[in-house]
């Protein structure tokens, strides 16, 4: 089956940017989990997830955000989300994620929020 999910990685100052492309479901969530794990273990705890090209998310994908957030915040970092399309945002909203995570309209705004803090 064709590759349907990709993760791009880049850096801006002390902030790591993970760019998601495609769909995040029970099949692709393990790759995302691995990526976040690697970032955290590599000492990078300010993470922006650029969701502009994320076309779909199910609870398996949401679960990755949930299972890491406490640990990363305890270490003084955060996972901040950016540029979520309405279809994906709707799923975040159904589960009450906007109260748990800082969500920004675009990636530069999310990166800037780390630089301010």
């Amino acid at each position: 089956m064709a590759t349907t999910f990709q993760i791009g990685r880049s850096e801006q100052g002390s902030t790591r940017i993970l760019t998601l492309d495609g769909y995040l479901d029970a099949h692709t969530a393990p790759a995302f989990e691995k990526a976040i794990q690697e970032e955290f273990e590599g000492g990078r705890k300010n993470i922006v997830v650029d969701c502009a090209r994320l076309t779909y998310i199910s609870s398996a994908g949401l679960g990755v955000f949930m299972s890491f957030i406490e640990e990363i915040r305890e270490a003084g970092g955060d996972i901040r989300l950016a540029a979520i399309i309405p279809k994906v945002y709707q799923v975040f909203e159904v589960l009450g994620f906007p109260t748990l995570f800082q969500i920004f309209d675009n990636t530069p705004a999310a990166v800037a929020s780390f630089e301010r803090s």
Binding site: A26, S58, V64, M66
Partner: protein
């Protein structure tokens, strides 16, 4: 108007690789039933969650097993039945925890069921572990 009922059935190997194909199937039937895009997204998510639960929990990620997705469309509603013959579990016994609690426990589970219950109008289970487990989810058609 005479009553009618149309049924569409998909049998797929129990692998998460097939979730995308299942979502396409559900989306096409949702459109055929006349739901708008927003509703189709919700129904698709519910079926995805239900099948992912079967793959992970009922079959323990054994890809040699089979999941059946049956869509039944009538004048009032679109119903999806998710059928497996793995280890059944009674979702009624699963305590719904709030989001903050799951985060504190570093657990990501339990979200799928919550999504299903939130987006569908009626959800029922018939559990006979090892024989046949069936989850029925109904989305009512809007009256025109």
């Amino acid at each position: 108007m005479p009553s009618f009922e149309k049924s569409f059935t998909l049998h797929v190997p129990s692998s998460t690789e097939n979730l995308a194909l299942i979502r396409d199937f559900v989306g096409n039937i949702g459109a055929k039933a006349g739901f708008d895009e927003n509703e189709i997204n919700k129904i698709t998510l519910a079926v995805d969650e239900a099948v992912a639960n079967v793959i992970e929990h009922a079959y323990g990620s054994d890809a040699t097993r089979e999941v059946t997705i049956r869509a039944v469309l009538d004048a009032d509603a679109l119903r999806f039945d998710i059928i497996d013959n793995g280890r059944g579990f009674d979702p009624g016994l699963i305590k719904q925890k709030d989001l903050e609690q799951l985060v504190k426990e570093r657990r990501s589970g339990g979200l799928g069921l919550r999504l299903i219950r939130t987006v569908m109008d009626d959800v029922q289970y018939q559990i006979k572990p090892g024989e046949k487990n069936e989850l029925r989810m109904v989305k009512k058609l809007k009256k025109r």
